[in-house]
Subunit: 460 residues, 2 copies
């Protein structure tokens, strides 16, 4: 057998830096990273093969080419890498990308380990599961997050994460829809829209893609768009509690949003991945708003509740009564996408999800969320004490710090240069984010405290 | 917290049969299934809400509407369900969908359980991993499957399965490419092409989508297309060992294929998910053919090697020197898709993959593959002894049985009606599959033996 015979051979060397993935995909870690791990792109132009470059006759997807502009995290990675080259001994702290750092509660990992072991038994083995997720998990999600609302268990599609579902939703919508996003917003909405061909080119002067409506969310409007000035679009991406601003829409605001969608015949894709961070009386689900099930899809995730960023588990709700203009149920097409492009979340991850929703699991998740919320408070208080206007934080693990009149990238660089702390420049989330910095509360306590100590030194 | 407060509430009932997912997604199980689990679609036309049907003004994606025709497994599910209603006490055996049935070797599940437990420790916890997969796993895949070939570890993108990667590749290619598939072939290639808008309508008379080249693979041509009569397309999907015919292309044939692609400037997407089932001297990877790395992507999976159909782990190789017509590396765009639409395979599944590629894991995987190959032999010998022309089987877990002049669905129905065994009608994989039945070798031994006993009774 090939795989077996070849095992004794040495691992093929990977010396080419021609396509250094890390250079356009670097994931900033929350702890300090030695410079040599960063993998700077050397951009060696000539492949190491002796052959001259053969090109196929397949045209590159023009939508992919549009993407080059404005992608946030590679640029942060590049700058972080350059920083580490400059300061190889720096204790860099990342409060950037929003990666969870705290261990997953044992009640949850034990359930996953148990499921793994069971897969070695005749009784416990299972192969393909339902693409939509295991019945018990769908029922538990319905009960834990949507009890008393109009959501039913078979409206819930379990997935490997909200980000993945956002792209699947875009594939479902296709190239001919128009869309709106909050400005600033999580880059995946815009990027997946560009990939599907829903947009025109990126306009460098205004930092926006053609054909996307950027709904401005700033302190002036309480981070809720002035809907009277927003043109109709087919799709409205709306994230609350918001990444990056940390703002959570009120019941009144969401009622307005649902009404706006209904008047326009739009579909809202509501991202509630941070709902458990809500401290105030804001709705946890769009379906708390009457009529929302006729106009809204909701996507969410275990990532930030249980530290499942690496385990991969989320879900999307597509109500049966959400209909396209011809009366066809959106859920039927989404189901078809899920069955064709996806094969269900890992069964082990699903066992973890079920444990998350047990009474002990829910308590443990709340403890995790509570821990990060304490971090958030520490960060908020720090910037507050330094005289900054600080937004978000109360209902989300992100603190949105205002540096009026300043360029976000300049502030990002200043903080990195002087404190070795990686943040995220607000303009990376959209033009209305300029002048802001997003500080993530995901971090070990000691790192958060140390970062805040350095902030205080810098801005005292 | 909402999720917690609501836990005590009863699970919302899911009594509506309006959108019975099982009706268009049923997964046939390898063991007998009581009729009540099947969930027949009642197609209740009126949603249970009192509201009249509100429709959004969002147009349904026209590509999704094209799909309705020709989808295989729902129809099988429908017929199986009807059969179980008719014979509620029947011991139905499924040799249909190809779902693995044997437990995962303990060396592999132990590694997954260990990783799960480690996620509860400060040292062992990890959040977001590289979207492309963990370095150690990419290195191990490179070593186990591509040693001595031109593949490098950073050419390997770890995923949640080949089917998922096929759709991601289609998103990468976009709407404007032309494609060819083997006829018959695994339905996901065609369906994902339709969804992306690469095709025209389904033509019922010839059972083909417009704008797709169906490369006929029949006993007459040794299940390898006559490339001299195949028009150029941008993309060529090619699966070997093949699902459904079980045919494995020879080195000479694959050399022809690579030459054909190179002359045409096409990109081959080579599906090698059954490579470990190869008994003969056929190549296990397209990269065994010189020059293939300039024209070929390869996708593969742990599903059928280690029983990972539910655990979800696969990979795709995109060589750095594979270039679009403008010289842009395909791998860079695929990386962008992976980073935007995907967040990496579950870290626990990846720990399992690494264990699969340890010396003990490789041995255990070969044992699993060997077991299914014994099943294949039993099925082949059965049909052979009954005087049928039998194809495939030697290098694949699928037996392709010829019923010359007969309609596949009629044969499927005859077998189901008289033996209570679910197979797959060949025409479901493409028009050239008509007159054939695919019998899957994935099953417990006693079920395979019992199915063969019934086949012998029916066709003696």
């Amino acid at each position: 057998m090939s795989a077996m015979q070849q095992l004794s051979s040495p691992i093929s060397s990977s010396s080419s830096a021609f396509l250094s993935h890390s250079s356009f995909n670097f994931r900033s870690k929350n702890v300090s990273v030695p410079a040599k791990r960063i993998g700077i792109c050397k951009c060696v132009a000539v492949p190491q093969e002796a052959q001259t470059a053969y090109t196929t006759k397949v045209s590159r997807n023009a939508n992919m080419a549009k993407l080059q502009a404005g992608y946030l995290f590679p640029e942060i990675a590049r700058r972080k890498a350059a920083h580490l080259l400059k300061y190889p001994d720096a204790q860099v702290i990342s409060l950037g990308i929003g990666d969870t750092t705290e261990p997953i509660p044992e009640v949850i990992t034990s359930a996953m380990a148990k499921r793994a072991h069971e897969l070695s038994t005749l009784e416990g083995y299972s192969g393909y599961g339902d693409e939509q997720g295991e019945k018990a998990l769908r029922a538990a999600i319905c009960s834990a997050f949507y009890s008393g609302l109009t959501v039913e268990q078979d409206d819930i599609f379990v997935s490997d994460g909200a980000k993945c579902d956002i792209s699947r939703l875009q594939v479902l919508f296709g190239a001919n829809v128009t869309m709106a996003v909050q400005d600033p917003s999580y880059p995946a909405y815009v990027d997946s829209s560009v990939i599907m061909g829903q947009t025109g080119q990126f306009q460098k002067d205004i930092q926006k893609f053609q054909r996307i409506e950027y709904m401005k969310c700033t302190p002036e409007n309480g981070f809720f768009p002035d809907l009277s000035s927003v043109p109709r679009t087919d799709i409205i991406f709306f994230c609350s509690p918001n990444n990056p601003t940390g703002a959570a829409a009120t019941r009144e605001q969401l009622t307005q949003l649902v009404k706006f969608a209904k008047n326009n015949g739009s579909i809202i894709v509501y991202d509630s991945a941070y709902a458990m961070y809500t401290s105030e009386d804001n709705p946890r689900s769009i379906y708390e708003i009457p009529g929302a099930q006729e106009v809204a899809i909701e996507t969410s995730s275990f990532s930030k509740y249980a530290g499942f960023t690496g385990v991969r588990l989320g879900w999307t709700v597509v109500p049966k009564i959400l209909l396209f203009s011809d009366g066809f149920p959106v859920a039927k097409d989404f189901n078809r996408i899920v069955c064709t492009s996806f094969n269900g979340a890992s069964n082990i991850a699903q066992a973890g999800g079920l444990a998350c929703l047990s009474p002990e699991g829910l308590k443990a998740m709340h403890d995790v969320v509570g821990f990060y919320k304490e971090n958030t408070n520490i960060i908020m208080e720090t910037f507050d004490s330094l005289g900054f206007k600080v937004y978000g934080g109360k209902n989300a693990p992100y603190v949105w710090v205002h540096f009026p009149g300043r360029n976000s990238w300049d502030v990002f660089s200043e903080i990195l240069e002087k404190t070795h702390v990686v943040t995220t420049p607000g303009s990376g989330f959209g033009p209305a984010g300029d002048g802001f910095i997003r500080v993530s509360a995901f971090g070990h306590r000691k790192n958060v405290l140390e970062a805040c100590r350095r902030f205080k030194q810098l801005y005292k």
